[in-house]
């Protein structure tokens, strides 16, 4: 059974390799999750606690609801912030993502159908995003401080929209390219104007792609760290920044609390990711893949 034997061997090999990959990927996430439920005496044991019998919700209570411990005054100010930071992150992410996708879809439509941006410009756009944000951070700080935009929601929104536009344009464009021109030609012959065609014919067809792009960019804006760190001080602290401040203040390694905070910050993204995972493959071609 030479052929079936070969096939079995391959399957076994693949199973083995994927198993290792699964562990490498999954273990850190698993650890983060269980640590968030560990009581404090299990945070530093050796050998480590891989499965806690005494799991508790205390960490979550402390971090997210602010109850249960008596911190020092300094710790107190930082440790009550997560919920506020959550609100800021939500506002910032939702607003900037909506704007980015809205503008991006418009531009993508123009590029896909009418090539309002040449191929070269489109790539330049993509590369815009590739410039290390740190390089942009310095000029922005000065500029914003002059304009009184430092530590404001508006300031951050503008920057986030700019940095995510390349992705939103490229991804939406690849979804648009899947729709044949004949659709619009048919609508046009039947008398529909440009805007109506976009709204009634094109948009419903790319809806799932747009949703996927939206969620992906939401992930980007939610996890952005550097610009949020630099362009905010007190008023618009986002979750990632808050997390690092938390780190800085609680140098005593409060692993449980950290984990609870980390889970809170990451969970929304994981949920989102699960919803859009099928679309990611379609959106990530950047012109290099022919269908």
């Amino acid at each position: 059974m030479k052929r079936t034997m070969k096939r079995r061997l391959f399957a076994a090999g693949r199973f083995f390799l994927l198993g290792i990959a699964l562990f490498v990927v999954g273990f850190p996430m698993y650890w983060m999750l269980i640590t968030s439920f560990k009581p404090d005496h299990e945070w530093f044991t050796w050998p480590p606690v891989y499965w806690s019998e005494n799991w508790t919700l205390d960490n979550y209570r402390v971090v997210w609801a602010g109850i249960g411990i008596k911190p020092t005054a300094q710790e107190a100010t930082t440790m009550q912030k997560p919920v506020q930071a959550l609100k800021h992150s939500l506002a910032l992410s939702l607003i900037s993502t909506t704007l980015s996708v809205a503008f991006g879809t418009l531009v993508a439509y123009g590029v896909s159908r009418y090539q309002i941006l040449s191929d070269r410009r489109m790539f330049n756009l993509l590369m815009l995003r590739m410039v290390p944000p740190i390089v942009v951070a310095a000029p922005l700080t000065l500029y914003y401080s002059t304009l009184q935009l430092l530590d404001t929601l508006t300031g951050l929104v503008i920057v986030y929209v700019l940095t995510t536009l390349p992705y939103s344009i490229w991804m939406t464009k690849s979804f648009l390219d899947e729709i044949p021109r004949e659709m619009e030609q048919a609508a046009s012959i039947l008398g529909a104007g440009r805007w109506r065609t976009i709204w009634e014919v094109i948009f419903p067809l790319i809806r799932s792609g747009v949703v996927a792009t939206f969620l992906f960019i939401l992930i980007l804006t939610w996890s952005e760290y550097l610009l949020a760190l630099i362009l905010s001080k007190v008023d618009v602290v986002t979750l990632p920044v808050q997390l690092s401040k938390y780190e800085g203040t609680t140098e005593g390694r409060v692993y449980g609390y950290q984990a609870a905070l980390a889970v809170g910050v990451t969970l929304p993204l994981i949920v989102i990711g699960c919803f859009i995972r099928k679309h990611l493959v379609r959106g990530f071609s950047f012109g290099m893949i022919k269908r």
């Binding site: 059974m1 030479k2 052929r3 079936t4």
Partner: protein
Amino acid sequence: MARIEMKELRKVYGRGIEAVKRLDLDIEEGEFLVLVGPSGCGKTTTLRMIAGFEEPTAGEIYIDGRLVNDLEPGQRNLGMVFQNLALFPHKTVAENIEFGPRMKKVPPEVRGRRVREAAEMVRITHLLGKLPGQCSGGEAQRVALARTLVTEPGAFLLDEPLSSLDAKLRREMRAEIDRLHQRLKKTFIYVTHDQEEAMTLADRIVVMRNGLIEQVGSPMQIYGDPVSHFVADFFGSPSMNLIGGQVSHEGGRARFEAPGLAVELPPALARAAAGETTLGIRPEHLEISGNGGVFRGEVRLVEPLGKDTLLYFDRGGDQPLIAVVEGTRSYREGDVLNLSVDPGRLYLFGWDGKRVR
């Protein structure tokens, strides 16, 4: 030379979809065998099982007496032309043709010669340096052919190779394939859904339906002696007139009656069971007669095809009655005509679809 035998072949897919229910077939050396049938009948699955791209759920395939179920496609000494050609788009025509011999480690000088010979056989020597994307549809076809020819396999498998071509090109390529078969005298197994291709190319036709073989025979047998309603309907252009009606017996004679049409059945069909039956008459066998005949009606539509003209008659059923006359005769819509038919040209099909003999 390859003689291919398939015993009790069966293929079931995941959700219980039986693509091939049971297939027993022996393919002779050097014959041009066509597997034909509607989409989903199992013909492509069968071809792919012969090639080795699908593993049979049950049954055996023998090539030259050797059981090949367990062999990889590359080890079966077969060549295949795919429906969408599958030319390597990033390699030149020459590199495409050269690929097979290279894989079998044929030394470069011999390779070069064989590539040129194959290219000459299908007349594409001028294209050797081009990319497939730069060739026209017909040219690409030939490249695909050359690519398999050069490996000198024992048998050739062709999976609907002409379906993406326009009508004229299709005829040209058909002739080309026929020519190749005459010259090489190797086994050709050809899959198509086009009955005309089957009729013109085949030494033998295998009609498939729902995963089973419906009928096997030469083109003339299939055409003239269909074993069922399905086969009769499938072959022939325009297709056979199939008229539903009743058979009754009267005084030792059998008679077929349908709305607008009545015919006395010849002695050969006199033993047909009474009751619901389908009568079949090929359009080319209906003749315009002066009077009498089996049918009288008004011409609803005239379709001139050049050599022939098709006349459509309303029969009161849902299908029109079609007759073929010589193109030189001119009839007009509205003409009322009598149609007669030679009783030897009548086909009778029972309620189960099978032919009554």
